[in-house]
C-alpha cells in the first residue's frame, strides 16, 4: 500500500512535558515525523513510552509544550481552543481502547453526537448516522444502549461515531486492547476498510506487533518519548 501523495501529518520536534512537582516528565520528547495522506501507520512501544500522548497531540486534544504539529498545512500548536475543537470535529475521528460511548445515550445518539457538534442539519444528520452505522454493520441495534451491547459491538459503534463527520484522519488508541482476538480482527478489518475505501489516513497505537505488521503500512517505534526506529513499508 504505497501512497506517494502529499503529507497529511507532520510533527516537528514536538515535545510534551508534564511538570510533576520539581521534576518534569518528558512524555513526548522531540519527535519529528511525517505521515502521508492515506497511509496506515502503527505506533508501537512499551507502556509509558508516550504513544497515547503523541496520538492526543495529533488529535488536537492536547497541546505540545514545544514544536509544531502540521496537519493539512496548519500548525495545531498555533490554534486557539475554538479552532482546535473545529479541527477535532471535522478532520479527525478517534477510537479508544475503552470505547468511550456515552452510557446514557442510545447507539444512534452516540453516533449522532459529533454531527450535532458540527451543526449538521437534522435530516442530513440522520442520513450520516445511518450510513455510518451501515458501514460497521450495526444498523439493527440503533436504539440499544452501550450496556446492552458486546465489547465488539461497542467498539464498532465507536468507530461509526468516529466516521460520522467523514474525517480524513482516523486515530485509534489500542482499539483492540479490550477485545478478544477474533473481535479485534473484525475491528481491524473495518479500520482497514476505512483506509482502503475511504482513503483515510490511519494512525493506530497498539501493543501487538503481529497486528501492526499485518495491517499497517508502516510501524513507528517509541521509547521514552523518542523515536526508536522506523519500520519502512514491507
Amino acid at each position: 500500500m504505497t501512497q506517494n501523495g502529499e503529507i497529511a501529518i507532520r510533527t516537528e520536534d514536538v515535545r510534551r512535558h508534564y511538570a510533576m512537582g520539581a521534576s518534569t516528565i518528558p512524555a513526548v520528547d522531540g519527535i519529528s515525523l511525517e505521515m502521508r495522506a492515506g497511509e496506515f501507520v502503527a505506533l508501537l512501544g512499551s507502556s509509558g513510552s508516550g504513544k497515547s500522548t503523541l496520538l492526543n497531540l495529533i488529535a488536537g486534544l492536547d497541546r505540545p509544550t514545544a514544536g509544531a504539529i502540521l496537519v493539512q498545512g496548519r500548525d495545531l500548536a498555533q490554534m486557539d481552543s475554538e479552532e482546535l475543537a473545529r479541527y477535532r470535529r471535522h478532520t479527525v475521528g478517534m477510537v479508544f481502547q475503552s470505547f468511550n460511548l456515552i452510557p446514557t445515550m442510545t447507539l444512534e445518539e452516540n453516533v449522532e453526537l459529533p454531527a450535532r457538534f458540527a451543526e449538521v442539519d437534522r435530516a442530513e444528520r440522520k442520513e450520516l448516522v445511518r450510513a455510518s452505522l451501515a458501514r460497521v454493520g450495526l444498523s439493527a441495534r440503533v436504539t440499544h444502549r452501550p450496556s446492552e451491547m458486546s465489547g465488539g459491538e461497542q467498539q464498532r459503534a465507536a468507530l461509526a461515531r468516529a466516521l460520522v463527520n467523514k474525517p480524513s484522519i482516523l486515530l485509534a488508541d489500542e482499539p483492540t486492547g479490550n477485545l478478544d482476538s477474533k473481535t479485534g480482527t473484525e475491528i481491524l478489518n473495518l479500520i482497514r476498510e476505512c483506509n482502503d475505501a475511504l482513503r483515510m489516513t490511519v494512525v493506530m497505537v497498539t501493543h501487538e506487533r503481529a497486528l501492526a505488521e499485518k495491517y499497517a503500512a508502516r510501524m513507528i517505534f517509541l521509547s521514552d518519548g523518542k523515536l526508536a526506529g522506523n519500520g519502512g513499508p514491507r
Binding site: 486534544l61 475554538e82 475543537a85 477535532r88 475503552s98 446514557t104 459529533p114 450535532r116 457538534f117
Partner: protein, 461 residues
C-alpha cells in the same frame, strides 16, 4: 452547537438523573413560591388598602381654604399686625379662584363644601340639624351601597337623603319617610341692590360694615320642600370627606342655590366680602387619582391658599408599604438564594460525575463554549421549571392563605377580603428571576466543565 441541540441534550441530561434534578428543581420551586407568596401578600395588602382608601374618596381629595389672616404669606411685613386692612392682601376663595383651580391638570371636580343649619319639619315634628351638599360623584361612596331608596335623581333635584339616626327623630319607622316631602327652614343671605329687598320677608337687616359703597345684604328666612329619596346608615365617606357632620344631605347645586349664610362661618368674613361676590370657606378638589394630589396641592398653595389632603398626611403609610414590599421580597429571595446553592451543588456534582462524558464530548469536537453552554442550558432549564413550579405553588399557597383569612374574617363577622394578589408582572418577574438566579448559579459549574482537560478526563481510572 445549535440552540435546539443544546436544549435537547440538556433536557436528556436532566432526565438522566431524574431524582436529583427534580429535587433541585423543587428547591428552586419552593424558593420562587416563597418569593411569590411574600410579594403577592405585600401587593395584595397594598391593593386592598389602596382600593379601600380610594373608594373611601379620601385620597384623591384636597381641601382648599383661604389663608388664615394671622399668618403672613406674601411679604413678611411683621409690623402690620394691627393693621385692619391687612386682610385685603389675602386672596379670597371666590368663583375666580374656583375656575382657576378647575383648570389645573387632572382636576376632576371642584365644589364648595356647603353645610348649614336648618330646621327640618315633617308633619308635627321639627328638628334642627346640619344640611350637607353632595356632588353627584359622592354616589360612589360605600355609604350609598346599602341605602334604602335611591340617590338624587338629578344634580339639581329638590330631594333629600336622610341619615337613619336623624330620620328616627322625625318618624318611628324611617322608611315611612321615603317619598314624602319634608320642609327645610333656613336663613338665606340676600344682596341688597339699590335699596330694593329681595323676595321673602326680611327678618334682619345689616349694613356691610367697612364697605364704603352702599352694598349690603339682608338675611331672610326661607322655606323649601324637598322630597325624601333615600335613607343611609352611615355618613358618606365616613363623614371625613366633608370634614363635618350633617344629618341630611341635599344635592350640592341645590345647596349652592340656597346660598345660606351658614356657609360662611365667621361674621367677619361675611362682612369683609361683598355680598354679591360669593366666597367659599372651603373648596373641595377631587383629583383623577391620588398620584396627582401632591402636584395639585403645590399649585394651589402657589395661588395663595391653604390646603389639606389625607394623601399628604398619609405619606408615611405609603412609605410603610414600600418598605413592607422590600422586606417581604428580601425574605422571599433568601429562600431562592438557598435554592441557588442547590443548583450549584447539583451541577458541580454533575460535572464531577460526568467528567468522562465531558472529555468524550470534547474529543468528538465539542468546544469549551459548547460544554459551558450545555451546563448553562441545564441550569436555565431547572430555573425555568422551578420558576413555573414555584409560581404555581405560590399561587396555591396564596389561595390557601386567602381562604384561611376569610374564614377568620367570617368568624369575626367581617366581609371577605382579597388580601392576595398575583399580578402578571410578578409571575413573569418571578420566573425570569428564577432563570437568572439559576444561570448565575450555573456560572461556576459550567466554567469548571468547560475548562476540564479532556486528556485527563479520558484517562481511564
Amino acid at each position: 452547537m445549535k440552540i435546539q441541540d443544546l436544549l435537547e441534550l440538556a433536557g436528556r441530561n436532566l432526565r438522566e438523573s431524574k431524582l436529583r434534578n427534580s429535587l433541585t428543581t423543587l428547591g428552586i420551586g419552593v424558593g420562587v413560591a416563597s418569593l411569590v407568596a411574600m410579594l403577592s401578600l405585600g401587593v395584595g395588602l397594598q391593593e386592598l388598602a389602596s382600593n379601600r382608601l380610594t373608594r373611601s374618596g379620601l385620597f384623591d381629595q384636597i381641601a382648599v381654604y383661604s389663608r388664615p389672616e394671622f399668618r403672613g404669606f406674601r411679604s413678611g411685613e411683621g409690623g402690620d399686625r394691627e393693621n385692619p386692612n391687612r386682610g385685603r392682601d389675602l386672596r379670597p376663595l371666590d368663583k375666580a379662584a374656583r375656575l382657576e383651580i378647575e383648570k389645573l391638570p387632572n382636576v376632576v371636580e371642584v365644589y364648595p363644601e356647603i353645610r348649614f343649619t336648618s330646621e327640618v319639619r315633617f308633619g308635627e315634628k321639627s328638628q334642627f340639624t346640619y344640611v350637607g351638599g353632595l356632588t353627584p360623584s359622592a354616589k360612589a361612596s360605600d355609604a350609598f351601597e346599602k341605602m334604602q331608596g335611591t340617590f338624587f335623581t338629578s344634580p339639581n333635584a329638590e330631594e333629600v337623603i336622610l341619615q337613619t339616626r336623624f330620620a328616627k327623630t322625625l318618624a318611628d319607622k324611617p322608611e315611612d319617610l321615603l317619598g314624602h316631602d319634608v320642609t327645610l327652614r333656613y336663613a338665606e343671605r340676600q344682596a341688597l341692590s339699590s335699596g330694593a329687598s329681595g323676595g321673602g320677608s326680611p327678618a334682619k337687616k345689616a349694613d356691610a360694615a367697612g364697605d364704603s359703597g352702599g352694598e349690603g345684604f339682608s338675611v331672610v328666612r326661607r322655606e323649601r320642600n324637598v322630597r325624601v329619596v333615600g335613607i343611609i346608615e352611615t355618613e358618606p365617606f365616613g363623614g371625613m370627606r366633608s370634614f363635618g357632620r350633617g344629618g341630611i344631605f341635599i344635592p350640592l347645586n341645590l345647596a349652592e342655590k340656597l346660598a345660606p349664610m351658614g356657609s360662611s362661618s365667621s361674621v367677619r368674613e361675611l362682612l369683609r366680602t361683598s355680598a354679591s361676590a360669593t366666597t367659599f370657606q372651603t373648596l373641595m378638589v377631587r383629583m383623577a387619582s391620588p398620584t396627582h394630589v401632591m402636584a395639585a396641592e403645590k399649585a394651589i398653595e402657589d395661588m395663595g391658599f391653604s390646603t389639606f389632603s389625607i394623601m399628604e398626611a398619609m405619606r408615611n403609610l405609603r412609605r410603610f408599604f414600600a418598605v413592607l414590599d422590600l422586606f417581604l421580597g428580601i425574605f422571599g429571595s433568601v429562600a431562592l438564594a438557598v435554592a441557588s446553592l442547590g443548583i450549584i451543588n447539583t451541577l458541580v456534582m454533575s460535572v464531577l460525575e460526568r467528567r468522562r462524558e465531558i472529555g468524550i464530548m470534547k474529543a468528538l469536537g465539542a468546544s469549551d463554549r459548547d460544554v459551558r453552554r450545555l451546563f448553562f442550558a441545564e441550569a436555565g432549564s431547572m430555573g425555568l421549571l422551578g420558576g413555573l413550579l414555584g409560581v404555581a405553588l405560590g399561587w396555591v399557597i396564596g389561595k390557601a392563605i386567602n381562604f384561611g383569612t376569610n374564614i377568620y374574617l367570617a368568624r369575626q363577622e367581617f366581609p371577605p377580603e382579597k388580601i392576595w394578589s398575583v399580578p402578571w408582572w410578578l409571575v413573569a418577574g418571578a420566573i425570569g428571576f428564577a432563570v437568572l438566579v439559576s444561570l448565575a448559579a450555573g456560572l461556576y459549574p459550567a466554567s469548571r466543565a468547560a475548562k476540564l482537560d479532556p486528556v485527563k478526563a479520558l484517562r481511564y481510572e
